[in-house]
């Protein structure tokens, strides 16, 4: 429980950071986490070659190369084939990088009432969580949170934006002491 509590605090910080930064995966918190890993690698190795998405153990690799999000059809929480493929990658990465914990954020587009969308976002986040658990992720390493329609990525009011907003995003963080 102590591990989880600390992780929640960390995730809470990430979530707050997201309040002022829509694209949280480029934000300072994520880079800082990575910097801990980079410190040991700094000597004698070309630093630029291993940064970011080129380092398979980095959060950037997780978010950019594997893909940190899956998208959903209107008013559904069913995983698409593409979504399952992405989650297979996530499950593999989390199996390798076992010191990371995950929080799944569920989101909805703006076409719905606030309450319903919160519940729908929770369904989507849970669908992802259960899939990851089915692929071997320990249930203690993954939590869910729903933002409903409160945190859209794309702001236009048509399907091109709605499709990007109907998403579940896997936010990873180092679990202290794992």
């Amino acid at each position: 429980m102590t591990h989880l509590t600390k992780a929640i605090l960390l995730v809470g910080t990430l979530a707050l950071g997201a309040c002022t930064n829509a694209d949280r995966f480029d934000n300072a918190d994520a880079v800082d986490l990575n910097a801990q890993n980079m410190a040991a690698a700094n000597t004698g190795i070309d630093q630029t070659a291993l940064t970011g998405a080129n380092n398979p153990a980095s959060p950037q690799y997780f978010s950019q190369t594997i893909g940190d999000r899956v998208l959903f059809e209107v008013d559904t929480s069913t995983l698409t084939a593409q979504g399952r493929a992405t989650l297979d990658g996530q499950a593999g990465w989390l199996a390798t990088n076992s010191d990371y914990l995950a929080v799944i954020e569920g989101h909805a587009d703006e076409q719905g009432t606030r309450e319903y969308n919160l519940a729908l976002g929770a369904r989507r986040a849970n669908a992802v969580r259960e899939y990851l658990i089915s692929k071997g992720l320990a249930s203690s390493r993954v939590r869910t949170v729903s933002y409903g329609k409160e945190r859209p990525l794309a702001v236009c009011s048509d399907e091109s934006c709605y499709a990007q907003n109907r998403r579940a995003v896997t936010i990873i963080s180092i679990g202290q002491g794992s």
Binding site: L16, E115, Y116
Partner: protein, 441 residues
């Protein structure tokens, strides 16, 4: 009454059939079944300043009374430029002929006296065409910083005496004040007078806050906050602006809270393993009770005014629809059967209607229906209208409207339950999730 009436009718038929001058003393019996529905013209000459230095306050109070009445759409202020005469000293006889001549049907006269921080407002309401006073004159005494409330109280009495309904002007709204673009929106809890005056902020914008709800007597506010990183319900004391988290049943996330009528219990939605059900928590004992138990999304619960039933939304049928169940849970009855999706039901304080948000063919509506689902009426239509809340007298509904596109903003609107008088409520920033508090004491 009708039986007696019919008897009388029969008697009249006999009287008529034997038409002679002997029956001339009988009254002519007629039934009026139709009229007009239009704003009632009223005059409110600027209240008199009874004490030197009260003039500004008298002006301001007169203006707010008129704005309250005009704002209902049921009354229409006659401009002072049309006045033939001005009233004499407050309480002296009124020259009704002068007011009849400009077709004023109601006349409000009054006087204001400011003494230090104390303010006294007196007023009388007249029925111009019968040349009589409607009810007795009244006097309110308060402090100068509460002058708007005194104006609202006068307007509430005028409204009530003319319409026969309780007023709603001396009441407050708690809502979510919104600033910033859609993808970086800051939300703060805010409280204001019903007309948008006296906005005060109750939280900062460091965490998302949603859907505040007044307690029945207005002393506390329930709302959902992401302070912890997850949606949880907070209870905020309005007077001290202190808050604490509501202890709920075990669950990942809690939201959509509402007080019971006695303010002792909270009903809310709790998410457990991705599934949303409705629960109830007793604030004093901390006991929790599950009220729904299905794999469907069950949310937005609202008590009936007698506390015996709960209306809520569920997608158990496949789409969002409205259901009513006992306050203790149990098998619910579906009440919405129209096309489209129905959400956020709110029971009217009079008990006769349920207001809701409806989505149909890409449009959102605020509507009302009887508690058995009949007589559905849609009051508004736009790209996104949602979250109705009732005025304390059950005649007016406030809701949030969001405009379309990247530059979309939210604003509060009100509409009466006949669908007339749609008005934007002036707020300093965007606003959403209004909750209308009770008439203040």
């Amino acid at each position: 009454m009708m039986t007696k009436f019919m008897t009388f009718l029969a008697a009249m038929m006999i009287a008529l059939s034997a038409t002679t001058s002997a029956q001339a003393q009988e009254p002519l019996r007629l039934t009026l079944r139709d009229g007009v529905i239009e704003a009632l013209p009223f005059a409110i000459p600027t209240l008199q300043a009874e004490v030197a230095g009260s003039e500004q306050m008298a002006n301001d109070i007169s203006r707010v009374i008129a704005e309250d009445l005009n704002g209902t759409g049921l009354f229409r202020q006659i401009p002072s430029s049309a006045f033939i005469s001005t009233p004499g000293v407050f309480g002296t006889p009124v020259a009704f002929a002068d007011w009849r001549a400009i077709n004023a049907q109601a006349l409000v006269t009054g006087a204001v006296a400011v003494n230090g921080s104390q303010i006294t407002v007196k007023f009388r309401l007249y029925d111009v065409f019968s040349g009589s006073e409607m009810g007795e004159g009244l006097q309110f005494v308060g402090t100068t910083d509460g002058w708007r409330r005194m104006a609202h109280k006068v307007a509430d009495v005028v409204y009530s005496r003319i319409t026969g309904e309780a007023g709603y002007f001396d009441s407050r709204i708690v809502f979510v004040a919104e600033t910033g673009p859609k993808d970086d929106r800051a939300k703060r809890l805010a409280i204001m007078d019903y007309d948008g005056a006296n906005v005060q902020y109750l939280t900062d914008s460091s965490a998302i806050v949603l859907a505040p709800r007044f307690s029945p007597n207005g002393d506390r506010i329930l709302y959902t906050s992401y302070e912890s990183g997850f949606p949880r319900i907070n209870v905020l004391n309005v007077a001290s602006v202190t808050r604490q988290q509501l202890t709920t049943s075990e669950g990942d996330m809690a939201f959509s809270p509402r007080f019971s009528l006695d303010g002792r219990q909270v009903i809310y939605s709790l998410i457990q393993g991705g599934n949303t059900d409705i629960f109830r928590t007793d604030l004093a004992t901390g006991q929790h009770q599950r009220l729904t138990n299905t794999p469907a999304i069950e949310t937005a619960p609202s008590f009936s005014p007698d506390g015996s039933q709960i209306v809520f939304e569920s997608d158990r049928s496949g789409t969002q629809q409205l259901y009513i169940m006992s306050a203790n849970g149990g098998e619910p009855q579906r009440i919405s059967f129209g096309n489209g999706r129905y959400g956020t039901p709110v029971w009217s304080p009079r008990g006769d209607l349920i207001a809701f948000t409806k989505q149909e063919s890409g449009r959102f509506h605020i509507g009302v229906m009887r508690t058995d689902g009949t007589e559905e009426r849609l009051l508004t239509s736009s790209f996104l209208d949602e979250g109705p809340t009732w005025a304390p007298n059950g005649r007016v509904i406030m809701f949030a409207r969001e405009t379309q596109g990247a530059d979309g903003t939210t604003a509060l609107y009100s509409v009466d339950i006949t669908g007339r008088n749609l008005r934007r409520v002036t707020t300093p920033q965007g606003g959403s999730d209004p909750s209308w508090g009770p008439l203040q004491q």
